[in-house]
């Protein structure tokens, strides 16, 4: 057991899996000698050699495309897309090839691979270092979509993703790599070290895909969220003194509908929180599922807290980011309705 921040936990997951499984190979832009711009792959090349962890040309399409070939050969590629904002040149290979390979060949060829990518805002990264494009992947049958929110989960989920027989898009909330974030950007950052979720076993363990976690028990309201927003939501619930049940989805596809339904049926109210652009975000799917399955338990409309329907504006980061105020108003509304 060690104390790790989220980057260290992710790094550790790579090390554990590369040591256990000689078929795991890691590549992406700057991931080799340097260890990645966020240092998630630090030391892997040194420890496992240049043919197990190496730099790739700046070609997200080529990275995913060659990973498809490697998976077809029998390897388990774990690839890094430097920022989720740069995943689009690889989108065709992901949607048309990775996602559909098992289906189109009736499992003759499968695509066990993990596509890791830092996502989300709050770091003054402007339009192309801040996006949350998860909904563009949840709509694609054949992909699993994972978003951890703590070091412990990040390592356990990443190991589970690498071991999973299906392709996983693994979104890492870069804003909370070094410490959780309560949404108050003007307050000092707390490092992970102070938190229980930073206690991470050194060796192998998994956090199962497809299982949400109730991170706060409550009776009045259910908050569904994931990634960075788990912490922002938790803080908002506390600050507003609401007896909310907060569910960290952890996996968006396949979704842990059982946990969601049980909670909403219990509380009768639901708030969905995503960082992404509002229209057609994953929140819309969550709202839809909840109203389809819990309609007669709902005492108020399901509310959404989201980013706005604009690109991510550099200087207006904190007016864009769904922070404490947006949550407060939404919590008040859904409780008042």
């Amino acid at each position: 057991m060690a104390v790790m921040n989220m980057i260290q936990a992710i790094n550790s997951a790579h090390k554990v899996m590369m040591a256990r499984d000689p078929d795991v190979v890691v590549f992406g832009e700057d991931v080799g000698y340097f260890g990645g711009v966020f240092r998630a792959t630090e030391g892997l090349q040194r420890e496992f050699g240049k043919t197990r962890c190496f730099d790739a040309p700046i070609s997200e399409g080529g990275i995913v495309g060659t990973a498809v070939g490697m998976a077809a050969y029998g390897l388990k590629p774990v690839i890094e897309i430097q920022f989720a904002d740069y995943i689009y040149p690889g989108y065709d290979q992901i949607v048309s090839e990775v996602a559909r390979m098992r289906y189109r060949t009736a499992a003759e060829w499968t695509m066990p691979m993990v596509i890791r990518t830092p996502y989300g805002g709050g770091i003054f990264g402007g339009q192309t270092h801040s996006q949350s494009p998860e909904a563009l992947f949840t709509h694609v049958a054949g992909l699993k979509v994972v978003v951890p929110s703590t070091p412990y989960d990040a390592k356990g989920l990443l190991i589970a993703a690498i071991e999973d027989p299906d392709p996983v898009v693994f979104f890492e909330p870069k804003r909370i790599y070094n410490g959780p974030f309560d949404g108050h950007h003007d307050r000092p950052v707390t490092p992970w070290a102070k938190r229980a979720e930073a206690e991470v076993p050194d060796g192998h363990y998994t956090v199962p895909l497809g299982k949400a976690q109730v991170v706060r028990q409550g009776a009045e309201l259910t908050v569904l969220t994931y990634g960075t927003m788990v912490h922002v939501a938790l803080a908002a619930v506390e600050e507003n003194g609401i007896d909310a049940e907060v569910i960290d989805l952890r996996t968006l596809v396949p979704l842990d509908m059982e946990t969601i339904e049980a909670s909403v049926k219990k509380t009768g109210r639901c708030l969905v929180v995503q960082e992404a652009t509002r229209t057609s975000g994953f929140a819309s799917e969550l709202v839809t599922l909840v109203q389809e399955r819990c309609f007669y338990h709902l005492e108020a409309p399901v509310e959404r807290v989201t980013g706005w329907d604009t690109p991510y504006p550099h200087a207006y980061e904190w007016a864009y980011f769904p922070g404490p105020k947006r949550l407060k108003f939404a919590l008040e509304k859904v409780m008042a309705d």
């Binding site: 495309g65 490697m70 029998g74 048309s96 189109r104 054949g142 396949p254």
Partner: protein, 423 residues
């Protein structure tokens, strides 16, 4: 206007957009007499360990082995034994007969779609003959010859075309989008170009594992314009991947001639030069030249001497697919006028010239192939044709999206079965 010289633009002409246009359109009389076809045997054959630079002149040339009399000449003569030649001929004939039967089956409403490779049979068949049985192919929809050559059952191909219960892909793919791991044939994609970097990735994996199997990626002239082509070329050269990258330049991409893919300016083989990769341009209707080039590139790849780009120069003798009527955009007689001839006739001529074949045996071969294909078709149709499919075993539709069926697909499966009246 210039920072340097305000008057320098006075004499500049108006800019003009050049839109490439093929030499002949419907109504024209195609005349290819001005096309310079290099003589067979002329091209030098570098060592397979040569620096890529040595191959660059060959990217603007045409490796040809069979001369007009059907003799194998020059340094690229692969000296293939007659039995192998006869097998190649047989496979090529089988492919052509198969294409004709299946085209007809589509016209008869037995399936939704078909694509022939008429005139291009030598390419896949001679490639398969020159490579190892366990090398891996990442093909397009015009390399049915690989499967035929490797002995994949024709019945299975047809079952795929009919999407019937004999189709091991459970009817999920468009006809002719074959896949067979056992026969080293990767799942064909409907999205052009995606297979090209995949082939490189497979080869990289083989190198990572210190294996000895190599990969071959296939692409059409038109699809070379996709970004995936560039990814493949880049990754292959950067990592010196043991891969052969083939461009089948049949000069058409549906209704667009190869000039729309850049062929007015450079050959497709020439792309290799820009990446520092070995490159060859090969007469794709000359089975021996194809064999020799692939053998050369395989040896090169297998000895860690690097990847090779091979352009097979050929002509798409028929329509793009059953959905296409080429008389809308090119003269009807073009295939016949095109100078490189018919690959089957040329290989036959060679075997005859060797004294290893004659018209009688050839007629017998065609009849045999025809009988084999008809028998296969009968057997396949016993399992059903497309219009009969999609009604039973509906629950299979929900399998294989993931290894395990998640709750949403379980629910959807139940709903679907209810809809179908099966609940």
């Amino acid at each position: 206007m210039s920072d340097a010289d305000p008057n320098s633009r006075r004499n500049a002409p108006a800019l003009a957009l050049h839109v490439p246009e093929p030499p002949y359109r419907p109504g024209d009389e195609p005349d290819f007499s001005s096309i310079v076809v290099p003589k067979a045997g002329e091209a030098p054959r570098p060592d397979t360990a040569a620096h890529p630079r040595e191959t660059f002149p060959l990217t603007d040339h045409l490796v040809r082995v069979l001369d007009d009399e059907g003799r194998a000449v020059g340094p690229w003569d692969p000296k293939v034994d007659p039995d192998t030649l006869r097998k190649m001929l047989r496979d090529m004939v089988t492919v052509r007969v198969f294409d004709d039967r299946m085209y007809r089956a589509q016209r008869q409403g037995k399936t939704s779609f078909y694509m022939k490779c008429t005139g291009e049979e030598a390419i896949a068949v001679a490639t398969a003959a020159a490579m190892h049985r366990d090398d891996m192919h990442f093909p397009t929809y015009r390399q049915q010859g690989l499967l035929v050559s490797r002995g994949y059952p024709l019945v299975k191909m047809m079952c795929q075309i009919y999407s019937n219960p004999g189709d091991h892909m459970k009817g999920r793919q468009l006809p002719i989008m074959y896949s067979d791991k056992e026969h080293g044939f990767f799942s064909i994609s409907g999205n052009l170009g995606t297979q090209y970097p995949q082939a490189v990735g497979w080869a990289m994996a083989s190198a990572i594992k210190e294996d000895s199997r190599i990969a071959m990626g296939w692409i059409g002239d038109g699809a070379t314009a996709e970004g995936d082509f560039h990814s493949a070329m880049t990754f292959a050269t950067v990592y010196n991947a043991p891969v052969i990258l083939a461009v089948v330049n049949n000069q058409w991409a549906i209704s667009s001639f190869s000039g729309i893919a850049g062929a007015e300016r450079a050959t497709f083989a020439a792309r290799a030069v820009g990446y520092g990769m070995a490159g060859l341009r090969v007469d794709g209707n000359d089975a021996l030249a194809v064999y020799a080039a692939v053998q050369w590139a395989s040896e090169r790849a297998r000895s860690n001497n690097g990847p090779t780009l091979i352009e097979f120069f050929t002509y798409r003798a028929e329509g793009h697919s059953t959905s296409d009527d080429p008389t809308g955009y090119r003269p009807a007689g073009e295939a016949q006028a095109w100078p490189l001839g018919d690959p089957i006739a040329r290989l036959k001529q060679h075997l005859v010239a060797l004294g290893e074949w004659d018209d009688e045996r050839h007629d017998a071969l065609v009849k045999e192939a025809d009988a084999e294909v008809r028998a296969a078709q009968k057997e396949a149709e016993k399992l059903g044709i497309l219009p009969e499919q999609g009604r039973s075993n509906i629950e299979s539709m929900f399998d294989d999206v993931y290894a395990e069926l998640p709750w949403n697909l379980q629910e959807q499966r139940a709903a679907c079965l209810k809809e179908a009246g099966h609940d």
